[in-house]
Amino acid sequence: MPDVSFTVDGKKLTAPAGTLLIEACKTAGIEIPAFCYYPGLSLQAACRMCVVRQEKVPKLQTACTTPVAEGQVFFTDTPEIVQARKATLQLLLGNHPLDCPVCDAGGECELQDMTFKYGAADSFYAEPKNHREEQKWSPVVYFDRPRCILCYRCVRMCGEGMDVFALGVENRGSSAVIAPNVPAGLAPDHLNHVDCEQCGMCIDACPVGALTSGTYRYKTRPWEMNHVATVCTHCGDGCKTTLGVRSTTDGAEIVRGDNRDRSGINDDFLCNKGRYAFDFANHADRIQQPLVRKAGKLEPVSWEEAFTHIGKKFRELRDAKGGDSFGVIGGNRLTNEEAYLLQKFARTVIGTNNIDHHRTADHVTFAQALIGHKDRTASLRDTKTAKSILIFGGDPTNQSPATAWNLRTNIRNNGAKLFVVNTEEIKLRRQAKAFVRLAPFGYGAMAAFLNGDDASGPSAVSNVEALAGFRDTLKATEGLLILIGSELRGSELKALIEFGLTLPGAKFALLSDYVNSKGAADMGLLPDMLPGYTPVGSEIFAEYKAPAQAGLGLLEIFDAAAAGSLSALYIVGSNPVLRYGVEPASLKNTFVVVQDLFMTETAVLADVVLPAANLYEKGGSVTNHYGDLQLVKKAGDRAGVRTDFEMIVRIADKMDAHIPTLIPFGKGLRADMGQTRGAQSGEADRHAVWLTAQNLEPRLSPFDPFAILDEIQRLVPGYDILRLQLLSGNDQHLEPAASQPLVQIGARRDLVLPSGDTLFTSGTLGHYSDMLIDLQQNSRREQLPILDQTAAD
C-alpha cells in the first residue's frame, strides 16, 4: 500500500493507506484508548472509547475502524472528545462494581486507567447495581459478570484466535452477557461451564477483571510481584513468558505466568501450560535435602556428605571398572549449558560415550539430512509469515500450541495457505486448503510417494486419485514451510526432507516435546554424537580426549544394567524408569545417582538423590525445536535445591577432576593466555585466547553457566551466538548442522519415543502440577464433543 499523509492533532503523519487510525496513532506515539479493539482480531467497534473527531464528518468516528486516507484531519484530544469518552465510561460503569481494591485486574486494568484519566467514577445512575455471583467456568477460568464491559474481546479471541468458539453473547441490550458453551441446564451441577482448551487467552485479552485465572485470582496485586521474563518449560515451542514472583519464607514463589512481554516468538500467546502449570515449582513434594541410601533406606544428609559420597563412588567405580561401565542420562528441560556440561563431564571426567536422553523426535536424522544446506531450518517466527505451510504428521494444536496459534493468526490475517497430511483428523485441518488423511502408519509411504514413487500411493491413502495433484501443488509452491511431526524418523524423515529440498526455498522444522529437547540433542546428549551433531572422534573436540567409539544408547544402558555390567548410572532431570518401563530389579547392582525435583519412579530407586532446581529457578539458555535460542532467567527460588549445573561441577570436583578444564573460568591463575606455549596448551589457556579475541571477560566462577556458553560458542558448530541478542532477551535462530555425513541413518524407531503429551499433560513434571491434573479431570468430566464440532461457516 502506498503511504498517505494525514493530520492528527496538528501533527503531520504518514502511514500506508488503509492502516487503521488507531494503529497509525500508536506508531506515532498518540494514545487512543480502546477497550474492544484487539490487534489481529476482527473489528468490533463495540465500546466507543476510541472516538475521534474527523474534519468534515458530522459524527465522531471510531479510530479502531477508520482506515487512514490522504488529507484527512483528525482531533483526538479536544474537550469534545474528552467529554464523549467520559460519557462512554459513565455508561460502561453503569453496572460496573468498581471493586478495584479486590479485583485481580486492579493496577493493570484498562478501565481503571481510563476512569482515572477521564475522572468518570461518579455516575448519574441512581438505580442499584445488578449484582451477580462470580462463576467458575473451569478450574482456570472464572467469570465475574458485573465487571464485564461487553467488549467481546474474549469471544473473538476464543473463536478467531483459538478456533475453539467456546464463548458467545446471549440476550441483548443491558441484559447481554458473555456465555460459555456448557449452559447451566446441561451441566450436572447446574452451573455454567466452559468446555475448551483452557488456554486463558480470553482472560489475557479481557481489558478488565471480568475473566480471571484460577491460579492467580485473589493471590496478590501486580505491583507486589517481580516480573521475570524467561522461557516456558513445557512444550518444544519455548514461549517467552513473564513469571510473577513473590518472596516467601523459603525462597521466591511463582504466582503467575503471563505474556505481558509480547516481544517473543509467541507474540501474545501462551497456552494453559505456560500460563498455569508453573505450580509444580511450588509443589509440597519437592525434595529439599540430598538423600543417600543407608541400609536400604534413603536418608537425608548434608550436601557435603552427598557430594563426597558420589565423588568417591564414581572415582572408585571408574578406576576399577572403567568409564565404559557408566551410563549417563540427561534431560529435556536442562539448559544448553547444563546439557553441554553433562556430556563433557561424561566424556572427559568419567571417560565414556554412554550418554543419551529421552529423544522425543529424531533430531539427529533431521540435522544429518540437512548437511550442506544453509537457511533450510525454520524459526518459530516463520510460522507467522510463511505464505504456505505443510504440516506433515504431528498435532500442533495439542503438542505445540504456540505453533498452532501462529499458524492460525497467519492464515487469518495474511491468507497463508495450509496443507495438512496426517493419519488423524487433527484440528488444524479446519484451516487447511487441503487435508490428506493417511492410512495408519502411512507417513513413510507418503514421503516415498512425494519423492516420485507412485507405487507407494496406495499404502498411504485409500484414494490415490487426488494424491498426484496434491504432490503437484506442493511442487509448485515456493518457500513452503514444512513442519514435521515426531512420527517421522530415520529413513522416512530423510525421504521427506529430500523431497522438501527439491522445492525452492522450502524450510523445515521437526517438532518435538519439552522446552530443550532440541537443545539436548544439539548439545550432544547422544552416544554417537558430540555437540552440534559432530560424530564422536571428530577433530573439533580433540581437546576432550574422549573415546572415539560410539557409546551405549539409553535402552542399551538399561540392557547393560540388566546384564550386570553397568557399575554406575547418573541421571540428570529424567525419569526413564517410568518412560521406558525399566524393571526396577535390573538396577540393583548399579550405583544410581539421580538429580530431580521429585521422588520420581526413577529417583526412588537411586542410591543418592540430589534435589534439583527447575528451569524457572536458574539461568542459562535453551533452544526450542525450531532451533531458536533464548535466554532463561531465574525467577523462582526454593530453599535446599541446587541447579544441575552446580551439582555436576561439585561432583566433578569431588572426583578430583581439574575444574578449570571442565569449566573454563578464572584468569591468569594457571595460564599465560597461550602466548608462550602456543595454542596447544591447556583448555583454560585456549579458552582465554578465544575470550580475549571475542572481547569477552573471563568468568570468575565455576558455577557460571556463561563460562560454558563461551565454550559452546567456541566449539559447537552452528552455535555462533549473538551475545547482545541473547542477553537482551531476544530469540535467535541457530542451524547446528553437522559438517560431514557419517553414521548411517538407522531405521531403529525405538531410539525415539515421542512424549505423547497433550494440552493437559507434560511428562513427569505434569504429574506434579495440580492445575494440570485438575484440568485433566475437568476435561474428562465435561465429555462434550465441543472441540470436535466444526467451526461456523
Binding site: 468458539f165 453473547v169 441483548r172 460459555p180 458453551n181 441446564g185 464440532q789 461457516d793
Partner: protein, 169 residues
C-alpha cells in the same frame, strides 16, 4: 430422505428444514426461521432442537443459543396451550393496555412469562404487535384480539377455555 438421521421433528418439518438449509447464500441464515418453525411444532425450543438445528446448519450449539436468546419471542420453556401476549407499547398503553395486562394477571393468577397450573394459558407482556389502530390489543397464539375491554378479555379467555377459540399456532 432427511438430511439428518432420526430427526426430532415431524417428517414435514424435517423436509422443510432440509430445504431451508439450501436456499440462503449462507447456510446459517436459515437459523431464525428454523427456530420459529421448531417453536411452532414443539411449543418451545428444546435442547434436542438446539442440537439438531446446530447440526443442520454446521453451527455450534452455542451459536444457536446466542441467536435464540437475542429474540424475546423465542422460548426455551413450554408456554401454555394458549399463549396470551398483551401489548403495552405506546398506543396500547395510552388506551389502557396496562389495565388489560393487570386484568389478565388477576384473572389467570399468573405473571409475565408464567403458565397456569393446568398449562392452559400463559401470559406475556409484549411490545407493539402492529394493531395500534385498534388499541389496546393482544394476541393469543397467532390470533389477534383488539379494541379490548376487561369484559371482552373475560369473554375471550372463557371462549378459549371452552375450546371454542381459534387455536392457530
Amino acid at each position: 430422505m432427511s438430511a439428518i438421521q432420526n430427526s426430532i421433528f415431524t417428517p414435514e418439518t424435517a423436509a422443510r428444514f432440509d430445504k431451508l438449509a439450501t436456499i440462503y447464500p449462507m447456510k446459517r441464515s436459515a437459523l431464525v426461521p428454523m427456530l420459529l418453525y421448531a417453536q411452532d411444532e414443539l411449543g418451545y425450543i428444546s435442547e434436542p432442537a438446539i442440537t439438531e438445528i446446530a447440526k443442520r446448519l454446521d453451527l455450534f450449539d452455542l451459536d444457536v443459543r446466542n441467536v435464540m436468546s437475542y429474540y424475546s419471542m423465542l422460548r426455551t420453556k413450554p408456554a401454555g396451550k394458549y399463549n396470551i401476549q398483551v401489548c403495552t407499547n405506546i398506543s396500547c398503553m395510552l388506551r389502557g393496555g396496562y389495565e388489560i395486562l393487570d386484568h389478565c394477571k388477576a384473572k389467570l393468577g399468573i405473571g409475565h412469562k408464567e403458565v397456569t397450573a393446568d398449562k392452559m394459558f400463559s401470559l406475556e407482556e409484549v411490545e407493539c404487535i402492529g394493531a395500534c389502530c385498534w388499541a389496546p390489543a393482544m394476541q393469543v397464539n397467532y390470533n389477534f384480539h383488539d379494541d379490548l375491554t376487561t369484559v371482552k378479555v373475560d369473554d375471550i379467555i372463557e371462549q378459549y377455555r371452552q375450546g371454542l377459540g381459534k387455536d392457530v399456532k
